[in-house]
């Protein structure tokens, strides 16, 4: 039956409203004076993947949150299967066949997978929860989706990517007609992405409509049938994916042409500034026996699969994680292994963490606070008191030079888009005048335009003689910006490659070395 619909829709190109599973018509939404959505329309056919693209702050998530009942739309109509819908809360949406996997995981991390799957709809018999039935169903579901995890496992023990898969399984378990995936692959490794695509194929065959929000062009071009691009809260274009190329999408998204995804590099590499010998962390999961050198003005990438402990490497260097043995020699001096992050910062290190929300921003506090917090020593007068004026000035400067889109520096950082939050945090570190920057997924969840700006910034910092280590899950990004790459595999260093002489295949091979 589903196949019939498929054939019909692909052959019939005239606009026939009945062929659409979900129709959003002229949706508008404002937050205060900010117009987040202005008359946006979206039509999803059954059995297809409809990609929704746009820079951060373009209104993709807002549109989906209006559909899902998280936001109340100001204007416009929505139809599911031809019937008008207007969900007032997510529960209603879920019960009516609309499920959503959010960009930021909202899970009960101290409960197990079963509990999380059945949260809000526990199976009961005469008012008593039937654990057994839920467990059996969960097992069946995980098996069907090919997820190899014990359903009794507590969520906080799972990796981010596993948790992501659980969230996808949960959405799937609602038997939804429409499934919204908001950046589902941002924390998945290549292998897991393939896995996810398998699940998506399965859903397509069942006749589901999938709305897929992502920044990753290659993924979009591969799996989607239609692509809708939004910009500044407006609908720009909806095009069949087969007629699109990366360049066209970028052009639609930014409204200008980005001929090159990566800025040209002009950094000159100098002498060794950081020498790491047999660094081993104390508490697992951790790194083992990692040795490498970092040179002045160098951009050193850290590649590896999800779970290869790239993050652990940077955090151990930064002394955020305890060091068991090994040596870190910086500027000719051995850094003590029992140092604190504070002391590491004083030496001229800076760490941009992977999870912005959890370990980066102070969400309810203003930009001014967020940009100056690591640099308070600079604002002291009479050794004790802080100079408010100078703090404001520096904060204004961060906002201006990093092009943070915000009304003023008193705005709470939590209300900015991901890219703008990232810029503020990078600005926070630049104020401390670091010599060695450790960047953990600096462009994660950031739109194309802002990504380019961050690449430029990394280059610029390297040109000025700073040394940079950067983790990225996007292989192309590593090849685009680094000089050399460390390849991590299962907590150990699998190899160091020269970016110019290496290939993606070689890096992939190395990252599987110790798995």
């Amino acid at each position: 039956m589903n196949m019939d619909i498929d054939n019909q829709t692909t052959t019939n190109t005239t606009t026939n409203h009945d062929e659409y599973l979900l129709r959003l018509v002229n949706i508008s939404k404002s937050f205060g004076e900010v117009k987040a959505l202005q008359g946006v329309s979206l039509n999803v056919r059954p059995g297809t993947v409809h990609a929704l693209m746009g820079e951060n702050g373009a209104g993709k998530s807002t549109l989906m949150k209006c559909l899902f009942g998280l936001y109340k739309k100001d204007d416009g109509e929505m139809y599911l299967d031809g019937k008008p819908i207007n969900f007032v809360n997510p529960k209603q949406a879920l019960e009516n066949g609309v499920a959503m996997v959010h960009q930021e995981l909202n899970q009960v991390t101290k409960r197990n997978i079963v509990d999380n799957l059945y949260l809000g709809r526990y199976k009961t018999k005469f008012g008593i929860i039937s654990e057994r039935e839920m467990l059996i169903r969960t097992k069946g579901l995980l098996q069907k989706l090919g997820i190899n995890t014990n359903p009794k496992k507590i969520l906080s023990e799972l990796s981010v990517s596993e948790r992501q898969m659980v969230e996808i399984a949960k959405a799937y378990s609602y038997n939804s007609k429409i499934l919204v995936l908001d950046e589902p692959t941002s924390s998945l490794s290549t292998k897991e992405v393939e896995h996810l695509f398998g699940i998506i194929d399965m859903l397509k065959k069942d006749g589901c409509g999938i709305v897929y929000i992502s920044h990753k062009m290659d993924e979009i071009l591969r799996i989607s049938d239609d692509v809708t691009v939004m910009r500044d809260g407006k609908w720009i274009a909806t095009t069949p994916a087969k007629d699109l190329t990366m360049d066209i999408i970028i052009k639609q998204m930014v409204g200008r042409e980005l001929s090159n995804r990566f800025p040209p590099k002009q950094n000159t590499i100098g002498e060794t500034v950081l020498k790491v010998n047999n660094l081993t962390g104390k508490y697992s999961p951790t790194i083992k026996d990692v040795s490498f050198e970092l040179k002045r003005g160098e951009i050193l990438g850290v590649a590896g699969l999800q779970g290869s402990r790239r993050t652990e490497l940077l955090e151990t260097l930064f002394a955020l994680r305890k060091i068991e043995s090994g040596e870190v020699i910086y500027d000719g001096k051995v850094l003590p292994n029992n140092r604190t992050p504070k002391q590491t910062i004083k030496k001229g290190f800076a760490l941009l963490t992977e999870e912005r929300k959890a370990t980066g921003i102070f969400g309810i506090l203003p930009i001014k606070f967020n940009s100056t917090i690591a640099n308070l020593n600079d604002y002291r007068t009479a050794r004790v008191f802080l100079n408010d004026g100078k703090m404001s000035k520096d904060s204004e400067h961060v906002v201006k030079s990093m092009r943070v889109k915000t009304p003023n520096i008193k705005t709470h950082i939590g209300s900015l888009s991901g890219g703008n939050q990232q810029k503020v945090i990078i600005g926070r570190w630049l104020l401390t005048k670091p010599k060695v920057l450790l960047l953990d997924e600096p462009t994660r969840g950031i739109d194309v335009g802002a990504k380019y700006e961050i690449y430029q910034l990394i280059n610029e910092l390297a040109e000025k003689g700073n040394s940079i280590m950067v983790i990225s899950s996007e292989m192309e990004e590593l090849f685009g910006i680094t000089d050399r790459m460390l390849v991590m595999s299962n907590g150990r260093l699998a190899g160091i490659v020269n970016t110019k002489e290496s290939s993606q295949e070689e890096v992939m091979e190395l990252s599987a070395k110790f798995v």
């Binding site: 205060g32 004076e33 930064f318 955020l320 604190t340 992050p341 504070k342 590491t344 910062i345 004083k346 760490l351 963490t353 959890a358 370990t359 980066g360 921003i361 102070f362 969400g363 309810i364 506090l365 606070f369 100056t372 917090i373 690591a374 308070l376 020593n377 600079d378 002291r380 007068t381 009479a382 004790v384 008191f385 802080l386 100079n387 408010d388 004026g389 100078k390 000035k393 520096d394 400067h397 961060v398 201006k400 030079s401 990093m402 092009r403 709470h412 939590g414 209300s415 600005g427 926070r428 630049l430 104020l431 005048k433 700006e453 430029q456 910034l457 610029e460 000025k464």
Partner: protein, 394 residues
């Protein structure tokens, strides 16, 4: 952008050469405050009708507490006009002073998203010890001059006793802080334990010294230096504003400087808001947490010293509810239990509203019990309001 960025590094160096002093710094903040007010009016004049309403709405939300106090006073004054006279106003301010000192300590712990259940006990503990170190202590019935001392014959001058009070308070605070920061005990549990320990110790001490005898009440001679000093003050007409009020003002000033103008203050907010991010930013979370507890302990010691003077010593009952009242006042004042949010201004107005409600019930013919019911409603309302305010932000 490209050309701007390098300046990020250079700009600071040029700035550090110009050093401004502390008072310039304060003056700057005050100027800024007035500037922001005039800016508000300027914006308001230029805004269109819709955003004018929005600005008014925002203003009402930001100053809800002050407006509520005004409305409350007006209503009480309509019911009983005698309420608005100098004596009752000075009464409220005087009685607020002790609570305010405790609340200023408590607020820091709430900013760390904790709560201190031991505040009352620490105050009582300090009272019990320090009262045996200063002159002119009398047991019930005994004549003036025949004091009882912790160490026979050791009588400390007031200034030294004051310092001892601060150190004692700070010491107990350090224990609370260590439990919380080093041993990761939830502050609620840790301070509950110390609440029993120090509340109990104070009573044991009273019995041992015979100071409290059976009544567990400490009496300081009303003619002693401390009582005279704290209770005297300057006169407005025939109403005396006691010195304790000034010491409460000093505490407000000092704590607001610490909160807003020092590194420690910023660190406190950072830890309260996001511990992990604070750690990454190079903040010593353990040290900061302990320091916040020590600071609050010092405030309790401060409160104990002046409270002792104001109350002629006083019994366990005079202090036993102070901690809870302080928590209530902080909550009314918008210090959020989710951590990272709070203003000294809020704490001050929270305490004033709290005391206002308690004092006004008598005037309008209600018992204090009814006042308690009303305070409960206000606290609940304040929290709901806080949540709404927070929701609007995000």
């Amino acid at each position: 952008m490209l050309n701007d960025l390098p300046q990020l590094n250079n700009q600071n160096q040029t700035n550090t050469t110009k050093k401004s002093n502390f008072f310039e710094n304060i003056l700057y903040s005050i100027c800024n405050y007035f500037k922001s007010i005039t800016q508000w009016f300027k914006d308001f004049k230029q805004a269109n009708l819709k955003s004018k309403w929005r600005m008014i709405g925002k203003f009402l939300i930001n100053y809800a507490l002050v407006l509520f106090i005004i409305i409350y006073v007006v209503i009480v004054a309509i019911i009983e006009p005698r309420f608005v006279n100098l004596t009752s106003i000075v009464d409220i301010i005087t009685q607020s002073s002790l609570l305010l000192m405790v609340s200023l300590g408590m607020a820091g712990i709430i900013v760390l998203s904790g709560a201190d259940l031991s505040a009352s006990s620490i105050v009582f503990f300090v009272v019990a010890i320090v009262s045996t170190l200063i002159p002119n202590i009398t047991t019930k019935g005994a004549g003036a001059g025949s004091g009882i001392y912790l160490i026979n014959g050791l009588v400390l001058p007031l200034a030294v006793a004051f310092v001892v009070a601060l150190i004692l308070g700070g010491g107990v605070g350090a224990i609370n802080g260590t439990l919380t920061a080093k041993f990761k005990v939830h502050p609620f549990i840790g301070t509950m334990a110390t609440n029993f320990i120090f509340g109990g110790s104070a009573l044991v001490l009273l019995v041992m010294t015979g100071l409290g005898a059976s009544s567990s009440t400490i009496q300081i001679d009303p003619s002693s230096d401390l009582v005279k000093f704290v209770r005297s003050g300057f006169k407005i007409g025939n109403v005396t504003v006691p010195n304790i009020v000034w010491f409460a003002f000093i505490a407000v000033f000092v704590i607001s400087i610490i909160w807003n103008k020092t590194k420690f203050g910023k660190h406190m907010f950072a830890v309260g808001c996001n511990t992990e991010a604070a750690k990454v930013s190079g903040i010593n979370v353990t040290f900061t947490t302990i320091s916040v507890f020590v600071l609050s302990g010092i405030m309790y010691g401060y409160a104990a010293f002046f409270g002792m003077g104001q109350n002629n010593g006083g019994g366990e009952n005079s202090y036993s509810l102070l901690g809870l009242y302080a928590i209530a006042s902080c909550v009314i004042g918008g210090v959020s239990f989710s951590g990272g949010v709070g203003k000294i201004r809020g704490v001050v107005f929270g305490v004033i509203l709290f005391q206002l409600i308690r004092n006004s019930t008598g005037y309008i013919g209600l018992t204090t019990s009814v006042g308690n019911v009303f305070i409960g409603i206000v606290v609940a309302f304040a929290v709901v309001f806080d949540m709404l305010k927070y929701r609007q932000r995000s």
